[in-house]
């Protein structure tokens, strides 16, 4: 069968409101009490994505590398701020750590993809750079905040072990080794599970989107494979870099555990 690219018009989008109407009806009937929130969410989805469409259309028309780099920096700063505020972790320099770790991860992963895998011309080609950067930033940030939380929980759980190792003369890095390993394992397991099950249960969103847009499934699959490998590398790099800075915040220069700081964590 021939590929077709079906364009959804604005009236078509209005028709899709039928889904909201059905949901609204069910909520009313069962007195779930979420009707108002549903309507606000529906309006916000419409407004936010429409705005994003205009912004992306504007961005994709730009032809200067410094505009794209500036945009990337802005995306990293906003994402880090969001991550920093989502979880009130008592980590000194946490915002800086998130920003720096994301920045380094984006440069390495995005650089590899644009230069060595897709070989895009020019290197800042926005149709490739911006969506992939968005995926790297979103995935990296989620993973880092979960890992930081887990790491602190492990430190609290193993406080006695850490201090015993320090008391025996172990360097800080060895004393927290088990906490680092547990936190990174917990962060990577969902990604590894993703590698195991992708394509078996459901088609990933990006691939589905490409197929709907008329792309040959074999091409869409290749993209998806690259994205899957990219995700695990992103999570690994972002976590390793951020944890390397986070764990040091919990120790004094004299290799003492900052118990007060650790106990501030919920």
């Amino acid at each position: 069968m021939q590929n077709h690219f079906y364009v959804i018009t604005w009236p078509d989008v209005l028709v899709s409101l039928v889904f909201i109407a059905v949901t609204f009806g069910v909520m009313r009937y069962w007195k779930i009490g979420l009707e108002k929130t549903l309507l606000i969410g529906t309006a916000r989805t419409f407004i936010q994505l429409t705005l994003m469409g205009f912004i992306l259309s504007f961005i994709f028309k730009q032809e200067h590398w410094y505009f794209m780099v500036g945009l990337l920096v802005l995306m990293i700063l906003i994402a880090s701020y969001e991550g920093y505020h989502r979880q009130k972790l008592p980590i000194p320099y946490y915002y800086l750590i998130l920003t720096g770790s994301l920045g380094v991860t984006v440069v390495i992963v995005l650089g590899t993809i644009l230069k060595f895998i897709m070989d895009v011309q020019p290197w800042f080609y926005p149709f490739a750079m911006i969506p992939i950067a968005g995926m790297i930033i979103g995935n990296g940030l989620n993973s880092m905040t979960l890992t930081a939380n887990r790491f602190i929980a492990e430190m609290k759980h193993r406080e006695n072990e850490i201090e015993t190792l320090l008391s025996l003369g172990a360097p800080v890095r060895i004393a927290v080794h088990n906490c680092l390993v547990e936190a990174i394992r917990a962060a990577l397991i969902p990604n590894i599970n993703g590698l195991m099950t992708v394509g078996l249960v459901q088609l990933p969103g990006m691939m589905t989107g490409q197929i709907l847009a008329g792309i040959d499934p074999l091409i869409a699959v290749r993209y998806q494979i690259m994205i899957m490998y990219m995700w695990i590398t992103t999570a690994t790099l972002a976590n390793v870099i951020s944890l390397a800075f986070i764990y040091r915040q919990f120790f004094t220069p004299a290799s003492q555990l900052r118990l007060k700081l650790l106990r501030q964590a919920e």
Binding site: E163, T164, S167, S255, Q256
Partner: protein, 242 residues
């Protein structure tokens, strides 16, 4: 000629969360002593051990180890030389042997033959058969002995004991302390033990320091607990007996 003290607290204060845990304390500890630090909870006993092992630093005043300010000593050397055994022993995953070999993770020069490991186990009252047992499966008393053996692997000069027997029954506590006393005599260690049980401490220590509310209120031989002069000490010792 007088020997250099092993530890000196020189007008030492330690503040935590705006609270003075130790208040301008001055004390001298001599090599080879077995000292019991006694006092109610929150008196600052454990704080002194943590300061000696470098797990905390003084907020004011100075602490000297063999005449040198401990803040100027390399921290890992201080900790190797001043071993600490905690109230609840942190036993690591793996066998008893792996717990004793933990030092290999950071000391490239560390090595020990099976004979040496067994010697350490026998010294603390464990046996050669324990070497390959899962450390987490040991009983409470055995875990405390393993923690002691592990600390002794560093060949320390000082042994800091933070209520090492508080989780054990009285008979087992006495057996472990007898072991510790024997090890102290064999190796010529200085032992500083925090305890809330002055009757048990009286059987092993030569010197008794009573701390109340961050201050030293008594310091002397067994008469400190047999004939307490100050009402506050009498009240603490009587309370502890209740």
């Amino acid at each position: 000629m007088t020997k250099t003290p092993i530890f000196e607290l020189d007008h030492t204060t330690r503040i935590e969360n705006d609270r003075e845990i130790l208040k301008n304390v001055s004390l001298v500890f001599h090599p080879g002593e077995f000292v019991a630090l006694l006092g109610p909870s929150g008196a600052g006993k454990t704080t002194i051990l943590r300061l000696f092992n470098g797990l905390d630093s003084p907020s004011a005043g100075e602490i000297r180890y063999r005449g040198e300010n401990i803040l100027e000593l390399p921290i890992t050397e201080l900790r190797r030389s001043v071993g600490m055994v905690f109230q609840t022993p942190a036993i690591l995953a793996g066998t008893v042997r792996e717990n004793l070999f933990i030092f290999q993770k950071w000391r490239k020069d560390f090595n020990a033959t099976d004979e040496e490991l067994v010697e350490h186990l026998l010294r603390v009252g464990l046996s050669a058969d324990d070497l390959n047992r899962e450390a987490k499966s040991l009983s409470g008393g055995e875990k405390q002995r393993l923690a002691l053996a592990r600390t002794l692997m560093n060949n320390p000069n000082v042994l800091l004991l933070d209520e090492p027997t508080s989780n054990l029954d009285p008979q087992l506590a006495q057996r472990i302390l007898r072991r510790i006393k024997k090890v102290q005599e064999e190796l010529g260690l200085t032992v500083i033990m925090v305890s809330h049980d002055h009757q048990l401490a009286a059987k092993f220590a030569q010197r008794f320091i009573i701390l109340i509310d961050g201050e030293v209120v008594e310091d002397g031989d067994i008469s400190v607990i047999e004939n307490p002069q100050q009402p506050v000490v009498r009240s603490f010792l009587n309370g502890a007996e209740d």
